[in-house]
């Protein structure tokens, strides 16, 4: 979940008087996010990834004020007929990288340091989460008074400009290699040997090397009164919706938002669109999904609390979806917001009729019986990771590495590279780490093992067990196998068997009917030593499914 840092003083200034930290935390919890105070100056906020409108102090204050009915800002529309501030012409060359752009112009801003930092943090967080680290969306903020519109968005050859924080003009390619931003995001424009250079230009030159870095010329400061925001990305829907969200923030900051015209040639868009959107939901649906009685009177108030303007239309409630809510897709999302407005704490649990009988899967019941017998034989139970590596699974027990293992593509450490094909290596590893504990030691595990069958993964349950005891020999494990099979009521036969983990001549195969079900024997001294064990030991492993079928 995104975690963001908010300037405490700024937030409380936005909230106005009458809200203290304790109340803020309570409201936040009810809305489904957590606030933690980390210092006198900062709050740490954890929000769910759908609520992009809460990634900044302005949006946060908006939600809290609505929730406590202390203000109701529902209207983020701007008049359709107003002229766009300027035009961005999109060149078809950008199709290969970041094909879409939206713009927002905000005038008459009064930026303090807190406001500026909050905006920058928001853009960073937004691009990091919803923007998938700028691979989907990137945002650039510019001082419009230092710009010379109209703008062109194109993808050209390597160009040159004075980037943010620099004093001299540098090549884009150089920027990719020499700046922090270049290092972090060059992967988006560099595709193998080919490198794309999407650039946003005004009549004086580059104002942004998209999605890497802006120009020094158009950088925003506390003195910036009028701002232009470019939002570029891989989805037209996403860039346009993001422009709406930015617009709402500027409006709540007291700015006057103006549109820009985006000219794709084939079609034109005016952003921010800020289209009014309505979703109607029957009251009955809300009540029957949440499981509470709400009533027509109450539901309008709950809607307002959650930032929706709402009206009764017939038996339905018509909700106006706030322009900044990118996550509201359909009726269900509104139902959830009404539930949150109502308060999860007030939803009284209601039992469902329990008529059917429940039951366990057969393999669970069988595994429980086997486990009971194993504990009765004095074996303690282990629960090991399914993940292992070839050294533990094959090399140490003396096996040849074979092709039957299911291999992982992207493990972070060498400790894991595959799914285990059998249980004994895990068990022996555990016993090898328990050598300082009193002997004898017996341990078993019942869980899954993985192998490829005809190229596709096959999963099955296995039973493995081992005993380390100075007085152990083959007959001890044979006695245990006999006792276990007897307890399970499975007729079995044994015959001589060769297995690299066991001493030759002290290893046997277990068969149920004609079917190979497993093996047991006295562990080879070399194998014991490989696992750090210096006392004699016996072990066995059986396929649980084969035993289950034999009953």
């Amino acid at each position: 979940m995104p975690v963001i840092t908010i300037d405490k003083k700024y937030l409380f200034r936005l909230l106005g008087s009458g809200t203290d930290e304790k109340m803020l935390k309570e409201h936040a919890a009810k809305l489904g996010f957590e606030i933690e105070s980390t210092s006198d100056k900062e709050l740490l906020l954890e929000v769910t990834p759908n609520r992009l409108d809460l990634l900044d102090a302005v949006g946060l204050a908006r939600a809290i004020k609505n929730f406590t009915h202390r203000s109701s800002s529902f209207n983020y529309s701007i008049a359709k007929e107003t002229e766009p501030a300027f035009t961005i012409t999109v060149h078809p060359s950008v199709k290969r990288v970041f094909p879409f752009i939206a713009g927002v112009v905000a005038e008459g801003l009064d930026l303090g340091e807190a406001e500026l930092l909050d905006l920058i943090n928001f853009a960073e967080k937004f691009c990091g989460t919803y923007g998938r680290n700028r691979r989907k969306i990137a945002i650039g903020m510019h001082n419009i008074d230092a710009m010379k519109p109209p703008l062109t968005y194109r993808c050209g050859s390597d160009g040159k400009f004075v980037h943010l924080g620099s004093t001299e003009a540098r090549l884009y390619s150089e920027i990719l290699d020499s700046t922090k931003q270049g290092e972090a995001y060059s992967g988006i424009v560099r595709r193998g040997k080919v490198c794309h250079y999407p650039e946003l230009m005004d009549s004086e030159g580059t104002i942004a090397f998209i999605p890497i870095i802006n120009s020094e010329r158009t950088k925003i400061t506390v003195n910036t009164k009028n701002m232009f925001v470019d939002i570029t990305g891989t989805s037209e829907y996403a860039v346009n919706k993001s422009a709406d969200l930015m617009a709402a923030i500027f409006m709540d900051m007291g700015g006057r938002v103006r549109r820009v015209k985006v000219d794709y040639g084939a079609h034109q868009v005016y952003t921010p669109e800020l289209q009014e959107r309505y979703i109607s939901v029957p009251l009955r649906r809300m009540e029957s999904e949440i499981g509470v009685q709400i009533g027509f009177n109450n539901v309008i108030s709950l809607a307002n609390k959650m930032g929706y303007e709402a009206a009764l239309v017939g038996r339905n409630i018509r909700f106006r979806v706030p322009e900044y809510r990118l996550d509201v897709i359909g009726e269900q999302d509104i139902v959830e917001d009404i539930a949150i407005g109502y308060g999860y704490d007030y939803i009284r649990p209601i039992p469902i009729a329990y008529t059917q009988q429940g039951g366990l899967e057969e393999q669970t019941s069988f595994a429980r019986k086997v486990g009971e017998a194993m504990v009765g034989l004095g074996f303690s139970e282990l629960a090991n990771s399914y993940l292992t590596n070839e050294d533990i699974n094959f090399d140490r027990p003396g096996l040849q590495r074979d092709e039957s293992a299911v291999m992982l593509k992207n493990p972070k450490t060498e400790a894991i590279s595959m799914l285990r094909t059998w249980l004994l290596p895990s068990i022996l590893k555990d016993l090898g780490m328990s050598t300082h504990d009193k002997l004898p030691q017996s341990a078993y595990e019942i869980d899954m093992v993985f192998r490829l069958k005809e190229g596709m993964p096959s999963e099955s349950y296995s039973l493995g067990g081992a005993t380390i005891d100075p007085k152990r020999n083959f007959n001890d494990v044979k006695a245990e196998i006999g006792g276990l099979m007897g307890a399970l009521g499975i007729a079995h036969s044994v015959s001589h068997y060769r297995h690299p983990s066991f001493i030759e001549g002290r290893c046997a195969e277990i068969k149920v009917g004609d079917v190979h079900a497993g093996f047991f024997g006295e562990l080879h001294p070399k194998v014991l030593k490989e696992f750090g064990i210096e006392e004699p030991g016996t072990a066995f492993e059986m396929e649980l499914e084969k035993l289950q079928k034999a009953r």
């Binding site: 499981g291 359909g330 949150i340 009284r348 649990p349 039951g359 366990l360 291999m407 992207n410």
Partner: protein
């Protein structure tokens, strides 16, 4: 300890060393009883026995005859007192032996074929020859077994004549009591270990049972232990079954389709990145079974997320990141069966699954890459969030855990809720899991017909809540025998 042994020890305690005969009289035991007790005490290390060697004389059958009748030469000498004997008349074996030895001893001489007694012979005829006297003495046991050599030429002669033979024998020379013997408890008529003899032979009658000091420290015997995780899994399953849920399962190696796409997780969602999810290198991908569902999900994604949906991406195999992949398979199957009248269900259908889920972590003693998760679904008509809260409250109540709910977000449910559990005995809550009503984009069913409640949660966390002594979840995967032996049954 046997009574005889106790009596021997008692005698020895009075005087640290003694011979066997002395012990016999001091202990009041018979020789055989004493010998038996000594042997047993020696075995248990309570006495030391020092053995000696002695030489004993055996008298042959011929010798025994001579003891009764006198030596052959003595018999001859005695006859000569009564009659005159010619050498030629001595034909029998014994007489000839007598003649030979009497001559050799200088008791007779032969005068013109007639035997005559010498002076020594006269005396010997009365008193016996020296060898005969010695033989009779030896027969009475009147000799020093350590000084047979002193018996001289006569003894030598007796041996040569095979009338006697010498053999050596071990004897108990000296008995000492050891430290252990000194420390052994004094004997009384008290039963220590109850054994078969005590019970079957009723030898306890009239005796006392030894009393144990119940305060004496005894090293505990450790039972074989189930894994704490596996035990809590059993409890979770029992909780669901008790509420009428049927257990189901599904593959741990899953297509991205069932793990992500079917649950409305956008294809560019960070959770799907290699950073967080294990992908397989062998094999890399697999077909998605149901064409129809693929189409439905493609439509939902493209409409909901406004971006292209790739089936190749959906085919990639992953290690499932949640048990909800199993739930998704069953939601689809059950709804599809109902919609096509393929199978009759009595609603609501209640299913649960418990299994391993995976996260691409750099593993160490604190970080695990696979943990258990449980997942549940209820498919029915008119199901509500209030029903979900009730179900979860009951499941956790079965395990003695209190839960509470708060709003949260998961791509596949709306409304969604997170639930938290109270740490036992504290006013601290930790996140357990989440749930809600599955989006109709996934179920493809209008709400007025069917609603699906779904939820999922970590299993190990339940133990963390119940057992405040646990430092972390990873401790549960210690798997050391010593650690396991110290576990409480929570």
């Amino acid at each position: 300890m046997h009574k005889y042994e106790a009596m021997v020890l008692k005698a020895l305690r009075a005087k640290n060393h003694m011979g066997f005969d002395e012990l016999v009289s001091a202990s009041g035991l018979g020789r055989d009883e004493a010998l038996w007790a000594l042997e047993s005490l020696k075995q248990s290390g309570m006495v030391d026995i020092e053995y000696g060697e002695e030489e004993l004389i055996d008298i042959s059958d011929e010798g025994k005859e001579y003891v009764k009748d006198g030596l052959a030469e003595e018999q001859l000498l005695r006859r000569m007192l009564k009659e005159n004997i010619k050498a030629a008349g001595l034909q029998d074996q014994k007489s000839r032996i007598g003649l030979q030895w009497a001559k050799a001893g200088g008791f007779i001489h032969i005068d013109a074929g007639e035997l005559k007694l010498t002076e020594a012979g006269k005396k010997a005829a009365e008193e016996g020859v020296p060898e005969g006297m010695l033989l009779r003495r030896l027969a009475k046991g009147d000799y020093d077994s350590k000084a047979l050599a002193q018996l001289g030429q006569q003894m030598h002669n007796l041996s040569k004549r095979k009338l006697v033979a010498v053999h050596s024998e071990r004897y108990i020379n000296r008995i000492g009591i050891t430290k252990k013997g000194l420390d052994a408890p004094e004997y009384s008529d008290v039963i220590e270990q109850v054994d078969r003899g005590v019970i079957a032979g009723e030898t306890w009658k009239g005796k006392e049972f030894k009393r144990y000091d119940v305060n004496v420290g005894v090293e505990g015997r450790i039972p074989a232990m189930r894994s704490p995780i596996k035990r809590i899994i059993d409890q979770v399953k029992d909780a669901y079954v008790s509420m009428g849920f049927q257990e189901v399962s599904g593959p741990a190696i899953e297509t991205s389709f069932w793990n992500f796409d079917s649950l409305f997780v956008p294809q560019d969602h960070p959770a799907r990145e290699m950073q967080d999810t294990f992908y397989l290198s062998k094999p890399e991908s697999a077909e998605v079974e149901s064409r129809e569902f693929v189409k439905k999900i493609k439509r939902a994604h493209e409409k909901g997320w406004h971006s292209k949906w790739s089936e190749d991406t959906a085919r990639q195999l992953v290690l499932r990141t949640h048990m909800t992949s199993v739930s998704a398979r069953f939601v689809y199957k059950v709804i599809d069966n109902i919609a096509n009248n393929r199978e009759q269900y009595s609603l609501p259908v209640k299913l649960f699954s418990v299994g391993r889920v995976f996260r691409n972590e750099a593993i160490d003693y604190k970080h695990l890459a696979d943990l258990y998760q449980m997942d549940g679904i209820i498919i029915g008509k008119g199901l509500t969030m209030a029903n979900l809260f009730d179900t979860l409250t009951r499941v956790y109540d079965y395990m003695g855990v209190e839960v509470r709910f708060k709003p949260s977000y998961f791509p596949f449910v709306e409304p969604g809720a997170e639930y938290q559990a109270r740490l036992k005995g504290r006013d601290e809550w930790i996140e357990m899991g989440g749930g809600g009503i599955i989006r109709e984009e996934i179920t493809g069913v209008r709400r007025n017909r069917l609603t699906v409640l779904a939820w999922g949660a970590g299993v190990e966390r339940i133990l963390l809540v119940k057992d405040p002594s646990l430092a972390s979840i990873s401790e549960l995967y210690n798997n050391g025998i010593g650690w396991l032996r110290k576990r409480r049954l929570v």
